[in-house]
């Protein structure tokens, strides 16, 4: 059971990280959701995996499940839920204001071909001029 839980946490994190790096708001939100699932599982597993034992110490029970991680997970779930809702609303706002689903508010390539390998094209693209890289060079309407 430990191996299975560890594996599912690993897969969830890997998928989450991959989606967050997609640089498009919808996959980013999905990735954040997967990452938060992974943390919830991880926190839960940190109280040690136990089956069929009470969460309260009783003299007649053989053992007990650690109740604290369950409380932590509940808190983490609530917070992650709220944060995801916020991120979705913000992503929608960004989509409406910038007209682009890209996290930078504009698609790096005006005419993307519908072929695969988007990450590769991103890395092969000529570097953006220095003035655009967050040093305050952008044309910003006052």
């Amino acid at each position: 059971m430990e191996g299975l839980v560890a594996l599912s946490i690993g897969v969830l994190v890997a998928c989450g990280v991959y989606l967050v790096l997609r640089a498009s708001t919808f996959p980013v939100v999905m990735g954040l959701t997967l990452l938060s699932y992974a943390t919830n599982l991880f926190l839960f597993a940190m109280g040690r995996l136990a089956i069929g034992v009470p969460a309260i110490v009783r003299p007649d029970a053989a053992g007990y499940a650690d109740p604290l991680p369950q409380a932590l997970v509940l808190t983490a779930i609530v917070i992650a839920f709220g944060m995801t809702a916020f991120a979705i609303v913000l992503a929608l706002k960004a989509r409406g204001e910038t007209g682009s689903d890209h996290v930078d508010g504009r698609t790096p390539h005006p005419n993307p071909s519908p072929s695969r390998g988007e990450g590769l094209r991103g890395s092969l693209a000529p570097p953006r001029p220095l003035r655009e890289r967050g040093l305050g060079g952008e044309g910003e309407s006052p």
């Binding site: 967050v20 926190l43 109280g47 991680p69 917070i79 910038t98 305050g136 006052p142």
Partner: protein, 511 residues
């Protein structure tokens, strides 16, 4: 007196809820109540600081659950100092937001402002790592909305980056906490310190990994290399009072490193004692170089100020990374100086930007500013303080940090980096000062838009700037007593055994 430690958390929370209910009564009422609450918080912080300096740590068990089963709040001198700095900054920022009517640009500014203070104060006071996570989320959620306050395309994009980066940071935070709980069986900071001190050797690797993950999270909040890329855009694009308040947000990360790592991996931690310090020092040095280059390369005044914030955080990371009592005392002195100065600089930059009209904060020669002599003088004053040139407080802060560095094996690297980066900052700020105040056009070009002949609410907004910049001369005039207080705070912070004793034994804590 018994409930003292929770008051700075309850006051902004209740004020925020009250402000939410008062919304139908209009903005004026909200402004009055909001400012009154911030001012009351300042008075409370001054009072608490006075109490903290005189006496012991105070431990408050929430719900009266015994330690370590419940959540404890620990009120000590370091927490009191952070509360005071935050309250001073909040009063200045809120005043500026009200007089320039920036708070009217969107709804719920005052509610969010109080919630931000609620999260900040909670983070400073909590003695429990998971509770620290919760308060981080509270302050982050408020900061997300405050950052977006006023709207605008650039701000939304900068806000999106900030939110996503911090959400990923929260995930890493939870992984770190989970691993620590799995290895130590507790999340109370004092109890964790006790457990780490008696850690079996085979668990050390796991705890070290969790500690470094935690350093990553706090480094993200503090904008440590390589996790600083969110900061310049977020701070430069948001409204001025919010940026001024955010000057303390990066310091929350530094505070968390001092508190959590300094306590859990402190002098008693055996093989793990201060294992994080070389990381902190090395990454701080890299951050400082990059921040100096950013200041030099900035095309806009507000980006330049944002990179100055980054440089000040880097100095703090270096000072904390020296892991000596002198280093920590110097770090605290520099923290007070740099937080209030950065807040003042953001507000001053906004006043200048409003005077430049369509030229905004681009480093292009514009028309002469209204009140150019006063604004130029203030800019030079703030720049000298930020650079660390004598006779202002930045000089004493940097000198003290360098003095602490002399006892460290890496002293030459620290000396060379700090002095070289200060030289870069000097070049950059001299250039921006000359572009903004000397290289003015005699006549407007034909294409130039109409420029403002006066800055709206100039005198009132200057009050906020002066309120925050007043810390600079005060820290010079009172350098001796302030330095003594900082050393006292540093000594108490590094006294992990005393911290543990206070948390576990209510008689010692003076509950």
């Amino acid at each position: 007196m018994m409930h003292l430690p929770i008051l700075p958390i309850l006051l902004p929370l209740l004020a925020g809820i009250l402000l939410l209910l008062l919304r139908p009564l209009g903005l004026q009422v909200q402004r009055m109540v909001g400012f009154a609450a911030a001012f009351a918080l300042l008075m409370l912080a001054v009072w608490l600081f006075d109490i903290a300096l005189a006496g012991q740590r105070q431990v408050y068990a929430l719900g009266n659950w015994p330690t370590p089963f419940g959540i404890t709040l620990v009120f000590d001198q370091l927490a009191a100092l952070m509360l005071l700095v935050t309250a001073v900054l909040a009063v200045g920022a809120l005043w500026y937001a009200i007089v320039t009517e920036i708070d009217a640009q969107g709804s719920h500014f005052h509610v969010l402002f109080q919630m931000q203070l609620f999260g900040l104060n909670g983070a400073f006071l909590t003695g429990d790592a998971f509770n620290l996570f919760v308060f981080f989320e509270v302050l982050l959620l408020a900061s997300y909305s405050l950052l977006l306050h006023g709207g605008g395309k650039q701000r939304t994009v900068a806000g999106l980056h900030y939110v996503v980066v911090n959400l990923v940071g929260s995930t890493v935070f939870l992984f770190a906490l989970g691993a620590l709980y799995g290895a130590l069986g507790t999340l109370n900071i004092a109890d964790m310190a006790a457990k780490v001190a008696a850690l079996p050797a085979e668990r050390e690797g796991l705890v070290m990994a969790a500690g470094l993950l935690l350093l990553l999270v706090f480094g993200l909040k503090a904008a440590m290399f390589p996790l600083y890329l969110w900061l310049p855009a977020a701070y430069a694009r948001t409204s001025a009072p919010v940026a001024a308040l955010f000057a303390v947000m990066t310091k929350v990360g530094v505070y968390a490193i001092i508190r959590v790592h300094g306590t859990v991996f402190g002098a008693d931690a055996g093989n793990l004692a201060y294992f994080y310090a070389p990381w902190l020092l090395g990454l701080g040095l890299i951050t400082l170089v990059l921040a100096a280059l950013g200041v030099l390369a900035a095309f806009r005044l507000r980006f330049q100020v944002a990179y100055l914030v980054l440089a000040s955080v880097a100095m703090l990371l270096i000072a904390v990374g020296l892991h000596s009592e002198t280093g920590l005392a110097a770090a605290l002195y520099y923290l007070v100086h740099s937080t209030l100065l950065a807040g003042g600089l953001f507000l001053l930059a906004d006043v200048i930007v409003r005077g430049r009209g369509a030229y905004a904060d681009r480093f292009d020669p514009g028309m002469s500013l209204p009140h150019h002599a006063l604004l130029g003088g203030l800019f030079m004053f703030a720049a000298v303080a930020a650079l660390g040139l004598p006779p202002l407080s930045g000089f004493f802060g940097k000198l003290w940090i360098l003095q602490a560095a002399l006892e460290h094996p890496w002293r030459w690297a620290v000396l060379a980096t700090v002095l070289l980066s200060s030289a870069l900052l000097l070049i950059a700020l001299a250039r921006s000062g000359s572009v903004l105040f000397y290289k003015v056009k005699d006549r407007p070009d034909a294409a130039d838009p109409v420029l403002p002949t006066r800055i709206p609410a100039f005198g009132l907004s200057l009050v906020a700037v002066l309120w925050l910049l007043a810390a600079v001369p005060l820290l010079v005039v009172l350098a001796q007593p302030v330095a003594e207080v900082m050393q006292q705070i540093a000594a108490q912070t590094l006294d992990v055994a005393g911290y543990r004793a206070a948390v576990f034994d209510p008689a010692v804590g003076g509950k």
